[in-house]
Amino acid sequence: MTELIVQQQWFLWMTLLPLGAAVAAFLAPRQAHWIGLVTALLLPLCALAAIAAATLSETQTITAGNWPTPLGIALRSDGLALVMLAVTALVGFIISCYALGYFPVRGHHQSRARYFWPLWLFLWGGCNALFISGDLFNLYVTLELVTLASVALIALEGGKAALAAALRYLFISLLGSLAYLLGVGILYGTYATVDIILLGDMLAATRLNHAAMSLMIAGLVLKSALFPLHFWLPQAHTMAPAPVSAVLSALVVKCAYVILLRLWFEVFPALDTIAIGHLLGLLGSIAIIWGSLMALRQERLKLLIAYSTVAQIGYLFLVFPLAHTETMASAWIGGVLLMMAHACGKAAMFMVAGTIHHTAGSDRISRLAGAGGPIGVLVVVFTLAAGTIIGLPPSGGFFAKWLFINAALVSGQWWYLPIILSGTLLAAAYIARVLGWAFLDVKRSSYPVIPWMMKWPPLVLSIIALLFGLIAYEPVQLALSGAPVSSPVLVEFGP
């Protein structure tokens, strides 16, 4: 058994499987949802197997075709990759279940369902390929795969606003990925390799490298919607069908961020990035406040959630200024933890919003008034999931913030404390606003019937999101294996 697990490169299967399933779903549209569901069931198993294999074996990097690295494409099953694969598998599984209820196999939304599955599976495969990639150009290809699938999924709603949002997202992505690609080109031109590990070893602190890094970071910042370049995100995430919104907010935004993490910690550690770190930290801080304030004044649930994503992305960018030498691990793990936690929580929230939109015809927050019965369950899901957004213990968000504050304190960057705190309070405020509406005492004559699949899977996810902190130890340990950081995670003031 052990042999079987170790021998297979499960993390590679995790990319091939959804891609193959996507083709199959395209070929057999009537069976698409079954194909999707089976894949969604298999992928978490694969993820477990991949994690087991990774813990049992030493090697974390192989290359496609076993060609040596400057030539071949490195595929990595290091901690970050495995953790992201696992979270994606989990969230993807839940979203697939939800989509089964959201896109009915019969009925007038048939054609949407027909294309949802291959697109979604492509997206999933693309994400997985991205997470394991250790090659800057391959990262570009996978990123584009993810982007294209996202564009199509956003447009799947079919309305003009959705199309406009999709198109805007497409242009933004093009801009971002071309900037990134230009940076990759310059790096290749200088070092004749795009392998992350090799580059990390070779890179010198030259101005050209700095320029390349700037281009890449700018592109990725655009794609991960950091303030003030978040403008495309609320529309794109709001206009899409609910499962897609969930995927976008939970996973797609993280793709660009994962690349950024890899760049910052693995490719460019040699460069003097303190000033850039502070710039990103500043933007992140503004994003936290801005996103939260914007979320506070939204009338639509999905927009609120989307702006909450903007704020949460701000937190993710605090990693860069906070990652000083001694607080490196603290910040890095904090970022990874927040990514995971946010993925679970935000996906559940978007699913709730989608269900409300689906059943009530609109996702205006005021429609929640007097929520009871089946809607009550949704509110519960929303609340539980929101715990991680606010950063309430024992959610992952709580521990991520713990690590950030720890890093900020030890590295002497006190000014991030009020930012993190006010972000927390503002988050609580906008969540409380939603709850307030939901608790408003209004008599309702009847409650809509909500399909089974749209009610329970999000609940599971929200519970996981809320309790993520309690099970975070293993993921964190996993993420630390092969991580570019090695200082203690919980740092104490030096003597």
């Binding site: 793990i333 007097g370 009871g372 019965g373 009550g376 369950v377 509110v379 519960v380 609340t383 715990g387 606010i390 309430l392 213990p393 024992p394 709580f398 521990f399 913030k401 713990w402 690590l403 504050i405 720890n406 304190l409 030890v410 404390l417 705190l421 927390t424 309070l425 609580a428 405020a429 409380a432 709850l435 307030g436 608790f439 408003l440 005492d441 209004v442 609940l459 519970i463 902190g469 309690l470 975070a472 130890y473 964190v476 340990q477 630390l480 203690p488 995670v489 919980l490 740092v491 104490e492 003031f493």
Partner: protein, 496 residues
């Protein structure tokens, strides 16, 4: 086996809560079974744990959260004190709430959050280190919010906002202080000698700031003036919630946290050495008096009770801040006594509201004739609050007074006297109205078959707690009483 008790205690309310969320509104029977079943199971488990701990078999469960950070559940004498209180009162409050919310909407939601709230309280009791404590503390904050706004009226929502603003504000400060302390002192396991005493004297400045932050943040829930604003406004919640809120869950969590910080993080001796306790004692004393004075002018019964809570909870803090064995006994025992007394008062206030629609004190004229049992319970609890012997409140005051003398701070007695006078002056007129003023209006007579004043579910819990108020005082020196248990704790803390 004994390792599993601690998580089992947590799950005994968490799981039913989560299941209840999913139940449709109509399945009353299943929900009731789950509620009561969970409460009973928890009581049994706590009893089992009690015998373990009484035999000095401390159990501990460690669950890694992050590298170098663990979730520590541990049952020591202090945690058991709070645990028994919460488990028992939860049981009663569940019964009460079932009766109180009969036929009202959104019961699944209510009981779901109710169970979460209790799970969090249980977690606070069992927390074995500061991190775990913070986790459950914040969980409590948020799980109580839906209960506060349960009624869904604009007023309730407003109160909820205030509640959230205060408690979460406190929560984040607590969070920062804890992270800071963790960064200075390393792991923060609760231990009788504290964990920071051995640190470099150069850090004492930081420690003082951290202590202040911790006390202020925990003081929000403990309703230290001027952080108490949320408490009187939160009384808009349904009576069972107010009962639990004031007696066990939220307010006590704050007080309990302060006890933990002083005893088990900083250590009594070290806190005293840094001169941290005297300001706290002053704050507590001020709160005691201020809360009582504010209570005087309230006409809304629950508001008056709320201000009374503001005042009474600070007894606990006063006792802890005196830092003498006797005062600690007084403070800790008040944790239990105040809980039992205040929950009785809120039960009774709820009965009045639910059965007769009475909310204001000036509507209570002669209500003792219509609801004699409820009002008898109310009377006992109110007298206990004033501190009449041999009721529970007297025991606390006696030890507080002795402790104050032992600490060389006789002004405490003046505070106690002043507070007693004020307590009397806001409770006795109410009692007078209840029993001696003829009623001005005709209340609907009982619709129940046997002419009972209200349903059993509403009647029995306050009667039991009122009985308890008497027993806790009369049998204070018996084995197994709160005082007995608290004396054990104090012995552990200060040595025999």
């Amino acid at each position: 086996m004994s390792d599993l008790i601690l998580p089992a205690i947590l799950l005994s309310s968490l799981l039913p809560g989560l299941i209840i969320f999913t139940l449709p509104e109509e399945s009353v029977r299943l929900r009731t079974t789950l509620n009561l079943g969970g409460a009973v199971v928890k009581l049994l488990l706590v009893a089992l744990l009690f015998f373990h701990v009484a035999k000095r078999e401390y159990t501990e469960l460690r669950l890694p959260l992050l590298p170098d950070m663990e979730l520590v559940l541990r049952a020591d004498a202090l945690s058991l004190l709070f645990l028994i209180l919460s488990a028992f009162l939860w049981f009663l409050t569940t019964i009460y709430a079932i009766g109180y919310l009969e036929d009202s909407p959104n019961r699944s939601r209510f009981f779901g959050f109710f169970s979460l709230c209790v799970s969090a309280t249980t977690g606070i009791a069992l927390a074995g280190d500061m991190v775990t404590f913070v986790i459950f503390y914040e969980a409590l904050t948020i799980s109580t919010y839906p209960l506060v706004i349960h009624r869904g009226t604009p007023a309730a929502l407003h109160a909820g906002r205030i509640y959230l603003a205060y408690t979460l504000g406190g929560g984040v400060v607590l969070f920062i202080a804890t992270v800071w302390l963790r960064a200075i002192a390393g792991p923060l396991d609760f231990s009788p000698d504290g964990v920071v005493a051995s640190l470099d004297p150069a850090l004492h400045g930081s420690l003082t700031i951290i202590f202040a932050l911790l006390i202020l943040s925990l003081g929000v829930k403990a309703a230290l003036v001027p952080l108490h604003i949320w408490l009187p406004s939160a009384m808009i919640a349904p009576a069972p919630v107010s009962a639990l809120l004031h007696a066990v869950a939220v307010v006590k969590a704050g007080a309990f946290g302060i006890i933990r910080v002083i005893h088990d993080i900083f250590g009594i001796g070290f806190s005293a050495e840094l001169n941290l306790l005297f300001p706290l004692a002053l704050m507590a004393a001020f709160t005691i008096i201020y809360g009582s004075i504010r209570a005087l002018s309230q006409n809304d019964l629950k508001r008056r009770l709320a201000f009374s809570t503001v005042s009474q909870v600070s007894y606990i803090l006063l006792g802890v801040a005196m830092a003498t064995p006797l005062a600690t006994i007084g403070g800790l025992v008040h944790l239990v006594h105040q809980g039992v007394m205040k929950i009785t008062l809120f039960f009774c206030a709820g009965n009045l509201a639910e059965t007769l629609g009475i909310h204001k004190i000036d509507e209570m004229d002669g209500v003792g004739r219509r609801m004699p049992w409820t009002m008898a319970a109310f009377t006992v609890a109110a007298l206990g609050m004033i501190g009449l012997p041999p009721l529970a409140g007297f025991i606390s005051k006696w030890y507080l007074g002795l402790g104050g003398l032992a600490a060389g701070q006789p002004w405490v007695i003046i505070v106690l006297i002043g507070s007693t006078l004020l307590n009397a002056s806001y409770f006795l007129p109410v009692l007078h109205r209840i029993w001696f003023v003829p009623s001005r209006q005709d209340w609907p007579s009982s619709t129940l078959r046997d002419g009972r004043e209200t349903t059993w579910a509403l009647l029995i819990p306050p009667l039991i707690t009122a009985m308890l108020v008497v027993m806790l005082g009369v049998l204070a020196h018996s084995v197994g009483s709160a005082l007995y248990w608290v004396e054990l704790i104090a012995t552990r803390e200060y040595g025999p």
